[in-house]
């Protein structure tokens, strides 16, 4: 049952992610990225992280990507040259090689790690009783209160910084 959901979502994520870096039109890139975010949101639901899933949609798809689209349209960027016609072949080759190696290195240890995963205190039942959102909220305002407040400061700084940078 879970595989039935996971495989399509994972496939969608991988395909749209690939499209992000392959498509030549930035607007399509952005839309593909929105697709990736949706797929990830679905996977989060599968992982019983409903709150994160919705926030993923609201923040990433609803706000961040709209901002991206806004800028792309504002700057009216042209299409890029296709990858295979770009100059600087050696760097491209090194890059692709490095990326393939990176994938191997990230994937190979997975098998050995997952065997060693210790099972923590159960939250599955807790989530059924109290709800994911409440759990997140409770943690956020108790244990992680200081980071939470710092985050708000970071956001404020970012707002001010963006205004200072972007004003003419």
């Amino acid at each position: 049952m879970e595989w039935l959901m996971f495989v399509p979502l994972a496939a969608m994520a991988l395909i749209t992610a690939t499209l992000v870096i392959v498509l030549r039109n930035p607007v399509y890139c952005a839309l593909s990225l929105v697709g990736t975010f949706f797929a990830l949101s679905g996977i989060y639901l599968l992982l019983q992280a409903q709150f994160i899933a919705v926030i993923q949609v609201i923040v990433y798809a609803g706000a961040i990507m709209v901002l991206f689209l806004f800028v792309v349209m504002l700057l009216d960027l042209g299409h890029e040259r296709p990858l295979w016609l770009q100059r600087d072949r050696p760097r491209l080759l090194i890059g692709v090689g490095a990326v393939v190696l990176l994938l191997l290195e990230l994937v190979i240890p997975v098998g050995s790690w997952t065997a060693r995963v210790p099972q923590g205190s159960s939250t599955s039942e807790l989530m059924g009783g109290v709800g994911n959102t409440q759990l997140v909220g409770r943690l956020l305002f108790t244990e992680f209160l200081v980071p939470f407040e710092i985050t708000s400061v970071i956001l404020l700084i970012a707002i001010i910084g963006a205004m200072v940078l972007a004003r003419r």
Partner: protein
């Protein structure tokens, strides 16, 4: 509550030090004195609480949390208020407060008024940390803190080269002792795995064998530190020079409180010293010799503050003598009485100096009693107490030390003590007679300006005089007075302590008293009745006189043996090693970096993708190592 005792003066110091310059002077004085008052009241309240507790459990503790925690080893910011700390805290706060008040009048002309009070408060805080700490490391914090304050206050008038160099001298000489303490503390951690008084002193008998070399060396390291801070042979040289500081500083730091830190350290570590009879003997002998030695120098000096300074060294010697023969309570008792009468002497001397607009040479004084009545009377009380005349404070405590020395079988030390008592009576009253009695040797101009000190200076004098006269009675009868009983639970029962026949004790007391009175009589005959006789005497024994006058040429000896070689070596290093090796290396490194930089500059394309690529390649290598190495 007890943690507030040091924290309040610390806060006062911060306030006065940071914003004192923008405050009216009155407010500065109120804040500083208020902080001292608060500490005194808190100490008194804690003392009262202590008295209400049953005798065995008389201690209060407060922990402000952990300071260092590393594996099994941990040190906390903890304070301990037991009878020993209580006596120390009360003395420090009480004398400290009086000297704060005195300073209001004494420093009133000074431009750096707020700085002075900030430092005074800071000193108070550090001293209280020292005496209230519940572990050696926190004690050492206070120890270093008072050293720093001492340095800053000796050099308070840093425009004067003498003051600046005196401060430096004090700091450097103390450093030798401090170094020994650090070594001792590290060794203590290795031996006990802790610096807490409770665990170190409780474990001492099981960890260290009686009379073992380890115990001796450990205690001697602590004692070396104590000789530095408490100005004992051979590290006493800084204290006379420290008189360059303002007189309240001399009274507070270099007589009543800081210099007794060494005594406190040894008294606190009594269970350790108890295991090292050799160290105890060394302590006793160093103390006794210092007492005699300093008293002999004091006989011929002419600067009134210096005489009192040498007297301080001498009295500290008594205290160490007492500790060394196992009479810890007697040592602490003498510490307490000494704090009163020595502060009194210094403040009276300060009052004289104040009145004479900075004159310190007593050859140009005389007959001042007519002009400075309060000062003269209080000085006389102080001198009597210092000389050990019954019934003033000094008599009781000194008598107890000498009795303990005799009782423990160290009769040579007892003899030295008695000889010192003779010297003490002599120099103290030489000082008194030359300053306050006889004919005036002042010039007319100074005479016109002479005036008694303001109330803020007179009040502490009177209070301290009262204290000097009466405080000795807390230790009466000798050996089993209220103070000794109060302190009794802190100190181990001394191996030396032998019950002494009352009749023998009476004989001993009368002997010491007779010596002191003899000194006074000699002083009277030589300096008041026939002022020319000392000169003929000096002319008859020129070598002895000059040796004493030049303080046995110890300063010169140190200068030739230590200071000058060090300076020369430093100069050589600075000219050869610094210029060639260090500068050469630095310049060479800079040149190398420059050359490498100009090569690496070519890597800096300024293009983000190139940077990203290198980051990724680095990440791949690193991750590869992590992934495949296991």
């Amino acid at each position: 509550m007890i943690w507030l005792i040091p924290v309040i003066p610390l806060a006062g110091s911060l306030v006065v030090g940071l914003i004192g310059r923008r405050m009216p002077r009155m407010l500065v004085a109120v804040i500083a004195c208020g902080a001292a008052t608060c500490s005194l009241m808190l100490s008194a309240m804690s003392f009262a609480r202590l008295l209400l507790l049953p005798v065995e459990g008389r201690q209060l503790r407060a922990s402000l949390g952990s300071w260092i925690a590393s594996g099994d080893f941990s040190v906390s910011f903890g304070f301990l208020f037991d009878p020993l700390s209580a006596i120390m805290a009360l003395v420090v706060c009480g004398v400290g407060l009086l000297i704060h008040i005195y300073s209001i009048g004494y420093m009133t002309e000074d431009r750096d008024y707020p700085r002075f009070f900030a430092l005074l408060n800071l000193f108070l805080a550090e001293m209280l940390i020292l005496v209230l700490a519940d572990n050696y490391l926190l004690l050492f914090v206070g120890w270093e803190g008072v050293g720093l304050c001492s340095y800053l206050l000796i050099g308070f008038w840093f425009e004067r080269p003498a003051a600046a160099s005196a401060g430096t001298k004090a700091f450097l000489v103390n450093r030798i002792g401090d170094g020994a303490i650090v070594v001792g503390l590290i060794w203590m951690i290795l031996l006990f795995g802790s610096l807490d008084f409770r665990s170190v002193l409780m474990d001492a008998p099981t960890v260290l064998a009686y009379g073992s070399v380890t115990a001796s060396i450990l205690t001697l390291l602590l004692f070396i530190g104590a000789t530095g801070k408490s100005a004992q042979l051979p590290l006493y040289v800084w204290l006379p020079d420290a008189m360059e500081g303002p007189t309240p500083v001399s009274a507070l730091i270099h007589a009543a409180t800081m210099v007794t830190a060494g005594v406190y350290l040894i008294a606190r570590s009594a269970p350790l010293f108890q295991l090292a009879p050799l160290s105890l003997d060394i302590v006793a002998w160093i103390g006794g010799l210092t007492a005699l030695y300093a008293a002999s120098i004091a006989l011929v000096q002419t600067d009134i503050k210096r005489i009192i300074a040498y007297s301080t060294i001498s009295q500290l010697g008594y205290m160490f003598l007492g500790l060394g023969v196992g009479a810890y309570a007697a040592g602490v008792f003498h510490l307490m009485t000494h704090a009163f009468f020595k502060a009194l002497l210094f403040l009276s001397a300060g009052s004289v100096i104040h009145a004479l607009a900075g004159e310190q040479d007593m050859r140009r004084m005389g007959g001042l009693r007519k002009y400075l009545r309060v000062t003269a009377w209080s000085f006389l009380v102080g001198a009597l107490a210092n000389a050990g005349i019954v019934p003033f404070a000094g008599f009781w405590s000194k008598d107890e030390i000498l009795a303990a020395a005799y009782a423990s079988g160290h009769w040579p030390l007892w003899a030295i003590g008695c000889l010192t008592a003779l010297g003490t009576g002599l120099y103290m009253f030489r000082l008194y007679f030359l300053t306050f009695e006889g004919r005036s040797r002042l010039d007319a101009h100074t005479l016109g300006h002479i005036h008694e000190a303001p109330w803020s200076m007179r009040l502490p004098l009177v209070l301290l005089a009262l204290g000097s006269a009466t405080v000795g009675f807390v230790g009466v009868p000798p050996g089993s007075g209220r103070l000794q009983q109060f302190l009794g639970q802190v100190f181990p029962v001394s191996a030396h302590e032998v019950a002494i026949e009352p009749s023998v004790e009476a004989v001993l007391a009368v002997t010491a008293l007779a010596m002191a009175i003899g000194g006074i009589v000699v002083a009277y005959r030589y300096y008041l009745v026939d002022p020319h006789r000392p000169e003929t005497l000096a002319a008859r024994y020129p070598t002895l006189y000059r040796t004493l006058f030049h303080k046995y040429w110890i300063d010169e000896l140190y200068d030739a043996a230590v200071v000058r070689p060090t300076v020369n070596a430093a100069r050589t290093l600075s000219e050869v090693f610094d210029a060639r090796m260090v500068d050469g290396t630095v310049n060479g490194v800079a040149a190398l970096v420059n050359r490498i930089g100009s090569l690496l500059r070519r890597l800096q394309t300024g293009q983000v993708p190139a940077y990203v690529l290198s980051i990724v390649v680095g990440a791949v290598v690193l991750l590869g190592y992590l992934a495949f190495s296991g």
